[in-house]
């Protein structure tokens, strides 16, 4: 008997009655409308208050009074902003810069492409020779502009499928002028789509669907990247832009470049465009692109590209290559927050990336300790030897090494020394979480303590 309005047992079976509760609810709402009243009051209350305030303000009609109060206000706000500035200065004193490395400097202009061969390509010629060109009163004098239209509107792809093959001059034109060096975004995207469609993408179908005899080489792809301004990590992190009007950063074509690389890496058979060492180099490049803050919005694309690079290798090749990749990255990795970014951009969702993530973390860790090739237990022992109670302890360094070690061990302990490592590791974590006091306000001290206790908890 808690609810009189609720339908009785037998009523719930009756479809007709089921509409009744709704009506009741509405009725009930009308009766109890206390909440509504309250909210209405608050709603209506605001304008009343405001009008009171404004009427109060109107009482200050003498100019003098007004001026002094304004001056006081000015002084106060000045004082407050100064204070805030000082506080900010104190706080940012020991701020560690965010990750980020410029991967791109000045763009160069692309080499000119001879488009004369284009007008003589079979595709355009077969039309000009046919009787239709006169009937339709169409002449193709501007071969390149017309081809661009065909590309953007999607006809070129149809024509190529129709002919069953792509002429060399068309292939290179769509690659350079269309995809990589066109300044028009729609041309770039269409050129890129064109190439992705004529190349086989599924792993099972290892045959190009159309005849293609011209493929870009690795050198050509790399040249294109250098024209975009890419410099292999040689730019200083804070490279000041001398000329403010100068744009430092790749053209938007970089998106197409990434998509092309991803697609090329997927077609390994029957004719891999790249050799394994070239693909290893590509991986290195992708890592540097990940470090460029300007390309943050493309991180999804970069990850896709990285995955397809990783799938390029066969299992045997991967054993060798992953180690090479990890060492090469570690030897050049900046020893600051950038090395987290490097580790974190390796997704770790499958067996290969999981292993690579661990390997890269391990390599960066040993390199940062100036001891590449050391054994795991030894590294952990020397980690533990740092005295956190020392006044000059560099907590930032400790923090970086701690996180690197975490990532290295995340995908499972090495089989041989597993128990020994686990023991040293947990002892290390315990000492970090207990020896750093709660009141230690040195930069990164709290971060180290929290991280260590987090890791200890989740063990």
């Amino acid at each position: 008997m808690d609810d009189l309005d609720a339908p009785l047992d037998f009523e719930s079976e009756d479809a007709l009655v089921s509409s009744v509760p709704v009506a009741n609810e509405r009725k009930r709402k009308k009766i109890i409308g206390l909440d509504d009243l309250l909210s209405e009051f608050y709603h209506a209350g605001n304008p009343v208050n405001e009008s009171k305030k404004s009427s109060k303000a109107k009482h200050h009609d003498s100019d003098e009074e007004d001026n002094t109060s304004k001056n006081k206000e000015k002084l106060l706000s000045k004082f407050v902003s100064e204070c805030q500035k000082q506080v900010n200065d104190i706080l940012t004193e020991d701020d560690i810069p965010l990750w980020g490395r410029r991967a791109f400097g000045r763009q160069r202009s692309p080499p000119p492409l001879d488009s004369r061969a284009l007008i003589n390509c079979k595709l355009l010629q077969s039309f000009t020779k046919s009787k239709f060109s006169s009937i339709l009163e169409m002449t193709i004098d501007k071969g390149e502009a017309f081809l661009e239209g065909l590309l953007v509107d999607g006809w070129l792809l149809n024509l190529v499928f129709l002919c069953g093959s792509v002429e060399d001059c068309l292939a290179s034109w769509t690659f350079y002028q269309g995809t990589l060096h066109s300044s028009k975004v729609d041309v770039q995207e269409s050129g890129c789509d064109f190439w992705c469609s004529i190349l086989p993408t599924e792993v099972e179908v290892n045959k190009p669907t159309v005849g293609l005899t011209w493929f870009p080489s690795f050198a050509q792809l790399k040249d294109a990247l250098e024209i975009f301004g890419y410099s292999h990590g040689t730019l200083s992190p804070s490279a000041s832009v001398d000329n403010a009007s100068e744009i430092c950063g790749p053209p938007v074509n970089i998106r197409c470049w990434l998509k092309l690389v991803a697609t090329f890496c997927k077609m390994r058979n029957p004719c891999p465009i790249f050799s394994t060492s070239e693909v290893e180099e590509l991986f290195d490049i992708i890592i540097w692109l990940f470090l460029d803050r300007q390309l943050q919005g493309l991180s999804f694309l970069l990850s896709e590209c990285m995955l397809s690079i990783i799938t390029f290798f066969t299992d045997e090749e991967w054993l060798m290559s992953s180690e090479k990749i990890a060492t090469s990255i570690a030897s050049r990795a900046p020893k600051d927050l950038n090395c987290f970014r490097i580790v974190e951009c390796i997704s770790g969702v499958d067996e290969r990336t999981r292993g690579l993530r661990s390997q890269v973390s391990w390599q960066i860790l040993t390199h940062s300790m100036g001891n590449p090739g050391a054994n795991p237990v030894g590294i952990l022992r020397s980690l533990s030897s740092v005295n956190v109670k020392d006044k000059n302890c560099d907590f930032f360094k400790v923090y970086i090494r701690l996180v690197l070690a975490e990532n290295w061990l995340a995908s499972g302990l090495p089989v041989e020394e597993g128990p020994a490592i686990a023991e040293v590791w947990s002892r290390y974590l315990r000492s970090l979480s207990t020896q750093i006091s709660n009141t230690d306000w040195r930069s990164y001290a709290a971060k180290v303590r929290n991280r260590a206790s987090y890791l200890l908890q989740s063990m």
Binding site: L91, F132, I135, G149, W155, G164, P251, V252, V349, Q457
Partner: protein, 450 residues
């Protein structure tokens, strides 16, 4: 360490503690903590071995960062994490029974993992958080509200697709309508909270307008990329420019995908209606295809950009055909209830209407010559593309050109344009139409070579 449920709760408490804001000094710390939390979830649920699915609270926290993220890095990282989690811990999965019992003959069973989080199920809290968020965008590190919504839209379409596709597979095998009726897509479309017509209009605007328009410019001129983001891109801020271009394109693809999913749902619904599987529990809704065709015929300026951007050939052709059928009265028996109404009507049939002067003239008068020409060109392209899509075995040219309809259709198209031109002096062809004719002529020319 106790039962798995307990240890999961331990993980939850432990990871969520990273987000604890006590002792936080500034926004940089909050930013660092959020990223550290996302990374911790990734390690716990994806990278480490053995890994366990995040709890609902962890999911909600990730989703909240995705919605409230104040920097591009937070948004992108949480988005990627959500997509990868979805792939790793799907809410729906197909279990192939044929592996266990061959007697069922390849039947699949749908397994719904009810405990799995979904943005459509447990995110009331984050919806509320969104309201709070909009009011304090001034102190965010990056004002990229639109960008955030673009990414969110992509994610939601991704989730809807992940829910719909396995259900569709099972429905096709079992013909049990309930699988599709209970799909998220069907539930959302049936919801009264959404005005479907406006929703579809918005989708079409996204597809045809895009977010970013570009002018042609010199190689170095990045300023020449015009964006539709008032206030966001004042200077050539490259970070936002790259992000917007990429997300803009991806969003268009996602919305097209969404429309196609709805069209497919409608198609199955039609069949189910005829077979009598549907009941009054299924809300009545105008099929999407009709709505699109209506929209296009009300607003003729949209036809060209919409059809240019809508790339899936099969449904594009279908849209164009339905548009024509609105005006061609001698259409084959075409009622809403008949299943095969559009199947026997091919693009060839349409072209026949334009094979002689008088009937061409009637249609041109009804539809205007611009629209007719545009639709014919797009229809031709969609027809060609669907041919390639269906048969990927194009070993040699001769084989292809033996396909008589292809040649016939190309000739029909040229003939249609000639007929239109005969009766309408001074009519001009757009670049797209010229290219269509060029393609048709090339097909004819190639044929005559053999």
């Amino acid at each position: 360490m106790g039962s798995p449920v307990r240890s999961n709760r331990g993980i939850e408490e432990n990871t969520l503690a990273i987000l604890d804001s006590s002792g936080i000094r500034d926004s940089r710390d909050i930013h660092d903590d959020r990223l550290a939390f996302l990374e911790a979830v990734r390690l716990v649920s994806l990278t480490s071995k053995p890994s366990s699915a995040p709890t609902w609270n962890m999911y909600n926290a990730v989703f909240r960062i995705f919605r409230d993220g104040t920097s591009l890095e937070e948004i992108m990282t949480s988005y990627q994490l959500l997509v990868e989690l979805e792939k790793h811990y799907p809410r729906l999965c197909l279990v192939d029974q044929s592996k266990f019992e061959s007697t069922f003959g390849g039947a699949c069973e749908l397994v719904v993992v009810k405990e799995t989080w979904s943005p459509f199920v447990g995110s009331v809290e984050s919806a509320h958080a969104d309201d709070v968020e909009t009011s304090r965008s001034s102190d965010s590190l990056l004002d990229a509200h639109l960008l955030k919504n673009l990414v969110l839209l992509q994610y939601l379409v991704h989730v809807l697709e992940g829910d719909f596709l396995p259900r569709e597979t099972v429905y096709k095998a079992t013909m049990k309508w309930i699988f599709l009726r209970e799909s998220l897509l069907s539930l959302i479309l049936g919801s009264r909270k959404i005005n479907i017509r406006y929703f579809i209009q918005d989708c079409m605007t996204i597809i045809s307008g895009g977010f970013v328009r570009h002018k042609s410019g010199r190689f170095h001129d990045l300023e020449n990329v015009e964006t539709f983001l008032p206030g966001v891109v004042e200077e050539p801020d490259l970070t936002l420019l790259y992000a917007t271009l990429e997300m803009g394109k991806k969003t268009v693809i996602a919305v097209e995908k969404l429309l196609i999913l709805v069209i497919r749902l409608d198609m199955h619904r039609k069949v189910a209606d005829i077979q009598g599987y549907t009941s009054r529990a299924d809300a009545i809704r105008v099929p999407l295809m009709e709505m699109i065709v209506d929209q296009l015929s009300y607003n003729k300026d949209v036809i060209s950009p919409f059809l240019l951007a809508f790339s899936e050939p099969k449904w594009k052709l279908e849209i164009i055909m339905q548009y024509f059928w609105k005006y061609c009265h001698r259409a084959p028996v075409h009622t809403r209830r008949s299943k095969n109404s559009s199947d026997d009507a091919t693009f060839e049939t349409i072209l026949k209407y334009f094979s002689n002067g008088p009937s061409t003239q009637t249609l041109v008068r009804k539809m205007s010559s611009e629209v007719v020409q545009l639709l014919l060109a797009h229809g031709f392209q969609a027809y060609l593309s669907s041919v390639w899509h269906n048969s990927k075995l194009l070993a040699d040219i001769e084989e292809t050109l033996k396909d008589v309809p292809l040649l016939q259709i190309s000739k029909g198209l040229i003939c249609a344009y000639e007929n239109i031109k005969k009766n309408n002096d001074g009519i001009r062809l757009s670049a797209f139409e010229k290219e269509a004719l060029f393609t048709a002529a090339t097909i004819v020319a190639l044929d005559s070579q053999f």
